[in-house]
């Protein structure tokens, strides 16, 4: 804690002079856990640039973030899934600002198979619906002609805790499988037709690693950081893609052409040859009309910085940065926040 008394009078004067409007401004935010590492990095870097501004973030989950910003107990919220129309009705004037991108990858453990497997959306949906029950099922074999698949039963593993990862996974399966859409649907927690639930990415990855015949899904970042191998998925253009940060940004760029004004867009199964199909934005939630104009200015200044300079920290932490088109759209939208 810096106390003015330990600063020299000159420094104090400088501090007051430079940050007269925003000295000791504190902003509080809460929400999604997935982007929490990069948010923490941004807030600490921003604090170094502007010592008078302190931004606190509590990673309490997207649901909690939406609740808190609705009740206006925080200055901004954060969510891995866009707010529903019903939720927006309770928080009139709320705006979504994409910050970074995430992706979800299929991981598996098949005894005797070292080759990288190829999947399509409908096959993944049928596995998670329990309709494809063994690894040598004709549908999987047809996608992987060179691989000798065993008759091991498929053990489906999913997230047990409510999670943005589950949301993205289910959102993708809903787009490619009408049966998934009608029977299961999209949410952070689901009524799973089959399988066991692991807690967190590590719970899912651990179970997949231990259980012969298991398939699961984890965040791309988690798989990259823990060097877990994963399968490739066929995208909307028919190309099999192994997820990469570039592929995720490409998916966002593909979706940018049809970006709605409120940025509430799902970019799973996005068009484009280079687009990885199981990708998603994560959003900051900010009120258009700020109760405290001074705080509002600090917040918009921060978001502007995050869109330009902040994005360069993405690579270090293995987040996919926003494509330039989306940044331009967001900068325009930011002018609305008063």
């Amino acid at each position: 804690m810096k106390q003015p008394s330990i600063l020299g009078p000159a420094a104090l004067a400088l501090l007051l002079g430079t940050f007269a409007a925003s000295a000791q401004t504190q902003l509080n935010g809460a929400g999604a856990t997935f982007p929490a590492p990069i948010y923490t990095k941004w807030f600490s870097e921003y604090h170094k640039l502007h010592p008078g501004i302190q931004i606190n973030y509590q990673a309490i989950g997207s649901g909690g973030g939406i609740r808190q910003i609705t009740e206006r107990t925080v200055d901004f919220g954060a969510s891995d899934g866009p707010m529903t129309a019903e939720e927006i009705a309770k928080a009139p004037g709320i705006l979504h600002f994409p910050t970074v991108l995430g992706a979800v990858v299929p991981v598996y453990n098949i005894p005797g198979v070292t080759a990288e497997l190829k999947f399509t959306g409908p096959v993944l949906a049928d596995i998670y619906l329990g309709k494809i029950a063994t690894w040598n099922d004709a549908a999987i074999q047809a996608l992987n002609p060179g691989v000798r698949l065993p008759d091991t039963p498929i053990a489906v593993v999913h997230r047990a805790d409510g999670s943005g990862t589950t949301y993205i996974w289910a959102d993708y399966l809903s787009k490619v499988s009408p049966e998934w859409k009608s029977k299961v649907g999209v949410a952070t927690s689901l009524r799973w037709p089959v399988g066991v639930g692991g807690k967190g990415n590590d719970g899912v990855a651990g179970q997949v690693r231990q259980q012969p015949g298991a398939i699961g899904y984890v965040e791309l970042i988690y798989a990259l950081q823990n060097k877990i191998d994963f399968g490739s998925v066929r995208n909307e253009a028919g190309v099999y893609l192994k997820a990469s940060l570039a592929g995720v940004t490409a998916a966002a760029a593909g979706a940018a052409r049809a970006m709605p004004k409120d940025f509430r867009v799902s970019i799973t199964n996005a068009p484009g040859k280079e687009s990885y199909p199981i990708s998603s934005f994560t959003w900051l939630l900010v009120y258009e009309k700020q109760q405290d104009p001074a705080k509002g200015k600090v917040l918009t200044d921060f978001v502007r910085w995050m869109l330009k300079d902040g994005q360069k920290y993405c690579a270090d932490l293995a987040y996919a940065p926003l494509p330039a088109q989306v940044v331009a759209l967001e900068e325009a939208a930011l002018a609305k926040v008063k």
């Binding site: 649901g63 692991g198 719970g203």
Partner: protein, 324 residues
Amino acid sequence: MRRRGGDDGGLELGTSAVAVLVVALVAAIGLELLHGSRLSIAKFGWSFWTGRDWDPVSGEFGALPFIWGTFYSSLLALLVAAPVGVGIAVFTTDVVPPRFRRPLAFLAELLAAVPSIVYGLWGIFVLVPVVRGLETVVSRTPLRKLPLFSGPPYGLGMLSAGLILALMVIPYVSSVSREVLQAVPVAQREAAYALGATRWEAIRAALHYGRTGILGAVFLGFGRAFGETMAVTMVIGNNPQLSASLFAPQYSMAAVIANEFSEATGDLYLHALTEIGLVLFVITLLVNAASRLLIWSVQRGPGRVSDGVPAPETIPPARAGEAA
């Protein structure tokens, strides 16, 4: 000496204020849970207790699979922990030479000091693979046709949850049982020996004398197993289904709150999760009340068999938030 009277008055006032505060707190928790689950109570009524569906997408909520999973895992844990815990108590009061008794009892009680997340991690990396191996062997024998052993060998599931809970409950059962056995009057054992009893028969006489106290110890363990969250969540498989199988992934009340509360959106969903907390609160209260009644019934009887029995260690539903 006069002044002591005044001090005693203050003591009485102070302690009764604290006692009333505790009761008020419990009541406040109950009311808050009721208030927080009003939407769900209004929509589902009693069918919440018997509903089998838990579907956040369509807004259908029923607590039965979670109640079932909680009872199943806790009873399974007690089935293992009660004989082992009482066995430890007998061993450390009657069998082992006196100088080893304290260190051994201390070691057994040390199990209670391990944080539940550590049990959970140990469960995932050590217990679950062992259980999976065991299940794989069993599922190759005709035993797999029994409902108790049906289903694929996931490793994660009821058996792992029950075993991990048993391990966590053993120190509670053993330490309270030990207190009970130590409080059995020496005359009881001496009388048994005087009648020509063997050591085993004398121990049985002591166990019989303290039976209600030991039953109370088992109930305390039950209360502990009931509210356990973290370790169970990590190994139970988290699939809300009513299954008799030990191999099946199932779910518990505390686990679903811990898993889904932080990401729950929508009022009905939140209220349904809070109502799960209410159900857990009510059942835990009943279980603890029953265990207290048992212990009191012993204390009122001849001798003070369960002198110094520690208060039941139960986890209030609010603690579920630690998982987030």
